[in-house]
Symmetry: C2
Subunit: 212 residues, 2 copies
């Protein structure tokens, strides 16, 4: 975790668009393209060329005069910015439908995360493998986090269980939590939490529908 | 679909926070509270009181002088703003892990959506019920959309299949698409699309981690 970083200058909106750019650049790379204009990127992403230019310049994507962005170099710049050029080991708690969907999320490894363990209390799940990941009993949480020195947790639990588990994670030295449970977690300042709220997207859709 | 709406003045950020407020107000209501201060709401949501006040005033939440927001009235105001006081019928395409997780998403009905049909091509799924929702073969898509007059689709498909299905949906008169497939969809202007990108949340988390 790099202490020196120009990242604070980059907006949350830009950061959220980076995975989308990465997918387009991976495709371009696969098709053998070495350069791409922001106009072509605009057609592909349905974003404005000016937004794309600003976003990619912010992460230091290399350009060639009058020809656009260099494909391989831009992939490197985005991956490097997000730390996705190094695989971070993470673990999942909760292997219901959502947890299983997350384990099957193709390209997690392209996104710098390697899920090395999953936890559940359901006896039908414990001892199984889901998408190649071993499921342990939640009672083994502390010992496995410590043994494997894991710092990143993905929570796909019911809301009622999330804070209790979070307190245990913090005790064990976990530094980042990707939370899919529909509750705000209380954590110390040095722990990063990313809250996912499925209903937020639905709220946006409903607002768009009403204004159409 | 209300043609008259003050919604354009309300930011996307506010809209995305509304489901979170709703959950807190539902809890307060269940505990028999009739009023709540923005300070108490701040403790509950970890948002600044000034942000909360602005958000709730934007949707017309009723207040009582020096006592805060009226609980029942605020629930009504948010539900009404989002159209969640009327159940909208929707259907799901793709019943893999993610689709099944969405069908099991407790409180979908609290969020104004009733999923009345699901579609898949997998013979092991077709004819089954998942969380009480009947799964039909995708070949029946057109006839069922038309018969049930459905306007809202939830896509939990592989990216490669999403645009083809979307073209069919648009032909059938679908007006809103909640898209969990990792591709940008091309649709006519009068169709609302809400794009969910699981990797966006992960990008935010990684950026936070790096700056800690």
């Amino acid at each position: 975790m790099n202490r020196f970083s120009a990242k604070s200058a980059i907006s949350k909106q830009t950061i959220r668009r980076l995975p989308q750019y990465l997918r387009v650049f991976y495709d371009l790379h696969a098709y053998g393209r070495s350069l791409v204009s922001s106009t072509d990127l605009a057609a592909e992403t349905q974003l404005l060329p000016i937004v794309i230019k600003k976003d990619l310049q912010a992460v230091g994507a290399p350009t060639k005069l009058r020809a656009g962005f260099k494909v391989a170099g831009t992939i490197e710049a985005i991956e490097n910015f997000l730390g996705w050029d190094n695989l971070n080991k993470a673990f999942l708690i909760g292997t219901g439908h959502l947890g299983s969907a997350l384990l099957g999320f193709s390209g997690f490894q392209n996104h710098g995360l390697e899920i090395v363990a999953a936890f559940d209390t359901n006896p039908e799940k414990v001892g199984q493998e889901i998408h190649g990941v071993q499921v342990y009993h939640t009672a083994q949480l502390k010992s496995i986090i410590k043994a494997k020195k894991l710092k990143i947790a993905v929570l796909a639990l019911p809301g009622s269980a999330a804070q209790g588990i979070t307190d245990t994670l913090v005790e064990c030295g976990v530094k980042a939590i990707w939370n899919f449970a529909p509750v705000k977690l209380s954590v110390p300042e040095d722990v990063a939490v990313q809250q996912e709220d499925i209903a937020s997207g639905l709220a946006e859709l409903c607002a768009k529908l009403k204004s159409n």
